[in-house]
Amino acid sequence: MKNNKWHLKPLAAAFALAGLVGGLSISQQAVASIDTGDDTLEISGFVENATYFRNKVGLSKFRNTLQLEGTKLLGNMGAFSEVSINGTFRATYDGVYDLNSDEYGDGAGGAVFLTPVVPATGTFNVAPGGGIPLGNLTTEGLRNEGLEILGQSRHTVKGHGVELAVPVRPCDKDSRGCLDGYMDDSLNELRYSDFNDRWDFIRELYVNAVIDMDSGTTFNLSVGKKQEVWGRTDLFRVLDILNPIDYSRNNIYDEFEDTRIPLWMATAEWQFGANNLLDDMNLQFVWIFDKFRPSKLGQSGTPNQILGAGELFRSLNLCWEEGCTASVFAGVTPDDASIATNFGPGVLGIREADMPEWSLANSQLGVKFEGVYKDIGFSLNAFYTRSQLPSLRAGIPSDNPFTGSVLTGGNYGDNIESQYYSHLISFDIHFPRVFLVGGSLDYYSEALDTAIRVEGAWTKGEEFADSTQERLFSESEVARWVIGADHNFFVRSINKNKAFLLSFQTFGQHILQHNRVQRAFGEAGIPDRENNYISTLLLQGWWMQDRLSFKVIQAYDWGAEAYVVSPAMDWLIDDNWRLQVGANIKFDRGPAEWADCTKCSPFSPYTDSTAPIHAGGASGEAGLGGIEPLGRFIDGPIGTARNEDEIQITLRYRF
């Protein structure tokens, strides 16, 4: 735990950035941008340091960024006019992995001891491998260093459901639990998150060209790596789903502009303009031919892991690859889970992430029809895509730990067989195909003096954890919507010249084939609520010619009863310097529990309970559960980050 190293190379990079900040001396009179001496070439950019401090953790971000944006106008080329090349390049170094490496770097984690309710092996503090011997961990599985207990940063662990150890160091420092190709970043890939095999330092690079037709229609073609934005609402992604999101940057709290993961795509758009019915009419086709990329959820041992998914997946892959000790898993009686239990490899956990290869069939297609009718702006959207969030599908061939185990009179490994077991918590990760149709509209209500924005979408193909199913997931159609209202109002006594902005939004989600049932030991099924709502309220004011603004963003997850308030100040010191200071504070009712398939009895008769569902040796969810692993879906993204209160300071120099 005490290997906090100061690496020379990244620190040099940090100081180099700082030096760049100090060394730039553009005239105050000049509007910030680089004078290229070429009217057809625009280049601008910024350097930025974002330093965040997290309660009880210390430094949680020391991100230094250099971003360059440029446009080169090429003029007319063949049938095309207004041809341009547009690029955005970003280089980021996050020093938190060096400056607070005890928490987030190669010194993170340590030895862990699980805490069974009943110490079947003689102690309440069980190291990996110290459970009852239902299997043997590998040497790596037994190595008790660089570990945390799953969920320990979010809740107390003792007696609240399954306990698993999870490696927390970067994957090149400790490869245990790292899935191949998914959440497997090395220390340098975490430090320099834009530099990876997908060339994320190219935020955008695309060619744009226009054909102005005699009919008055404008055809706009754009090809390259880019962000494409649909929809009309902020903060929520109902239609704005063409690009996946990098939640590892700052959970759900950064601007999408910075967190969308650009993809290689082509967009073709016909801007028909006005006709006898519509004031404006456009048709757009989007073809995303990039190799599929899921949203980046943050891997184990990093500061921002939305829903704690990164550590869950790593603990489960550790369990599959090296074996693991799961505390409060086996029971003293058939109906409880109280004893730490050792499993060998290939029994439980996540085997692999099935990352779709590039193929024409795996590309994504979207179409949008957009227009203005009278005073209403609207769009109709359809998108054939893949889920950007992982689905855990059980039903992979696994070993029966009981046949041949010491508990059944033999030695583990002698007679194990690899076959399908229903209700067994061994998974592969998939990203299923999803089809979305939706629409949006905006309207200004004169009576309310309020601009109203609405988005809605229906999807087919999404998958949800569901332990009542043999393969522990079920597919459901989902309806999502957002309604937003923006109202500007003056408080002259505070600000004579500038109105305050009050923006309210509510997001709703309805899972159409929702499944929840009452079983012998509790409720089971899909942990996500059938209907859930999240509301946000933004209040913002500006002073000093908009150079100083204060805003407070609040969000409340009605189902999770989780609340976050984020006050922030934004000061444009001059044309070049900008300082932002904010906080992010959460409140919630505490961690929720959910059935976790501890009592699913996949290996009858060894795992039978007295629950009726196990009569006759059948497998099935009996409803026993705890906080881990599925309580996170009840807590939601705000609730799971309950212990991530932060002070955030960002200083930017733009040029």
Binding site: E42, R232, E255, D442, Y444, R492, A499, W542, Q545, D546
Partner: protein, 436 residues
């Protein structure tokens, strides 16, 4: 009986005010060419005269009270330039001759009937006409302004501390204007088709610099029906999203400047948003000038060698231009909306061009709030392409918030060139395309 007579008289006056006028071509010639018989004169006010705090009392009649105070306080010296005739585009004058006789006010403020194109009410206003102010407002609203379409590209704004002269922020814009209806000089005439939304005019702008507001775009659609609210959209570059603007935001500080969207071009709102009162006709010094004879700067390099207006005086807030004697209609506008931040504006409306070179704004408590000047350059001595356009070129502006001692200045490169302005620019989708 007396009461009845008075009521009858009032009704008769209103009837006269609202009816189509018996306007003649001579009235129209007088309206567009008020200086045919010579420029107005005021004793001692001749080209080359510098009016400063020592002699301003002598020439007080040619300034508004606000400007007198600024000169007295030593904030600015005004140099008198040669008078110039700003004859508007002949097609606009012809359209006035063809249509003005059919134009009359409707029952309510904001209603106008029979208007096709040109100056709506070219007859000399009368203090006896209770709706004279409204007619003048229509003349401004349907003024030749930037013609049927034009661009200000680029358009540099500077936010300044008046006390220190420090420039706090610079913004580089591109502005585009297009009339969808009542067009006179550029095809299609008189209206763009199709025009299902019944638009009269649209303004589109984008921000080129600085980085934090780059690609911010604003689109305003004004309907032919003045009683219908403007539709406005804002594209925020950092969100890559178009947001519909609430009307209240047009009376908000625009991007932190000292202007509201409603202040654009002197007044950028509906006629029906205000109660208009004609207060009289005056001879005043107004910033109408020959740009080629002004001090200009090449601070912002232009390939064509164009040089921008300069600023002087307190905080560098006053356009450094010469003023010339002009025939001016004084018109007051009072917002209909009781929540409007402005209590009253006094517009000094140029009688020949119906531009608003000078507007003084008072807050709801009646205190002097903003001093707003827009320098008008003669088109024949500006960019070559503007020569003969018959557009009074907005060339320099300074708007001062007297209460907070802050100002915003603007340096225009106004180009009357229909090739720079495309219909597609005035659509919401264009904002999305441009903003990528």
């Amino acid at each position: 009986m007396k009461k009845f007579t008075k009521g009858l008289l009032g009704a008769a006056l209103l009837s006269v005010a609202a009816s189509a006028s018996a306007v003649t071509d001579i009235d129209i010639e007088n309206s567009f060419k008020p200086y045919t018989k010579g420029f107005p004169t005021v004793e001692g006010v001749v080209a080359g005269l510098v009016i400063n705090k020592d002699n301003v009392d002598k020439y007080a009649s040619v300034f508004d009270k606000g400007m007198i105070k600024h000169i007295k306080d030593g904030w600015v010296d005004i140099t008198v330039g040669e008078p110039m005739d700003f004859v508007l585009n002949q097609r606009y004058i012809d359209a006035t001759k063809a249509g003005a006789k059919n134009v009359k006010l409707g029952e309510k403020t904001g209603q106008i009937e029979g208007y096709m194109a040109g100056r709506a009410f070219p007859m000399e206003p009368s203090l006896d006409d209770p709706r004279a102010g409204e007619k003048l407002a229509w003349n401004f609203q349907y003024g030749y302004n930037w013609g049927d379409s034009a661009a200000i590209s680029p358009f540099y704004w500077a936010y300044k501390n008046m006390n220190t002269g420090k420039i706090e922020r610079n913004i580089k814009f591109n502005f585009y204007f297009m009339n969808f209806a009542h067009r006179v000089s550029q095809d299609p005439v008189p209206e763009v088709s199709p025009n299902p939304g019944g638009l009269f005019r649209a303004i589109y702008l984008n921000v080129a610099e600085p980085f934090d507001v780059k690609n911010t775009q604003l689109l305003i659609h004004r309907s032919k029906n003045d009683l219908k609210r403007d539709n406005s959209w804002l594209y925020l570059g950092f969100q890559r999203r178009v947001r519909r603007l609430a009307t209240g935001q047009t009376t908000d500080s625009f991007l932190g400047s000292d202007l509201m969207i409603e202040d654009f071009e002197g007044y950028n709102g509906r006629v029906s948003d205000m109660n208009w009162t004609y207060k009289g006709t005056r001879t005043m010094l107004m910033p109408f000038y020959d740009a080629s004879k002004q001090e200009r700067t090449d601070k912002y390099k232009e390939a064509d060698g164009y040089k921008y207006s300069t600023y002087h005086g307190k905080g560098g807030c006053f356009p450094n231009v010469t003023y010339s004697l002009r025939k001016v209609y004084v018109v007051e506008s009072v917002p209909v909306d009781s929540n409007h931040p402005v209590g009253k504006r006094v517009h000094y409306m140029d009688a020949q061009t119906f531009t608003l070179p000078r507007t003084v704004t008072f807050d709801r408590q009646g205190k002097y709030w903003k001093s707003w000047s827009i320098g008008q350059a003669h088109p024949d001595h500006h960019l070559p392409i503007n020569k003969g356009s018959g557009v009074s070129i907005d060339d320099s502006f300074g708007i001062m918030d007297i209460q907070s001692m802050h100002c915003t200045t603007g340096q225009f490169k106004g180009i009357v060139d229909e090739n720079l302005v495309k219909k597609k620019q005035f659509s919401v989708q264009y904002m999305r395309s441009f903003g990528k």
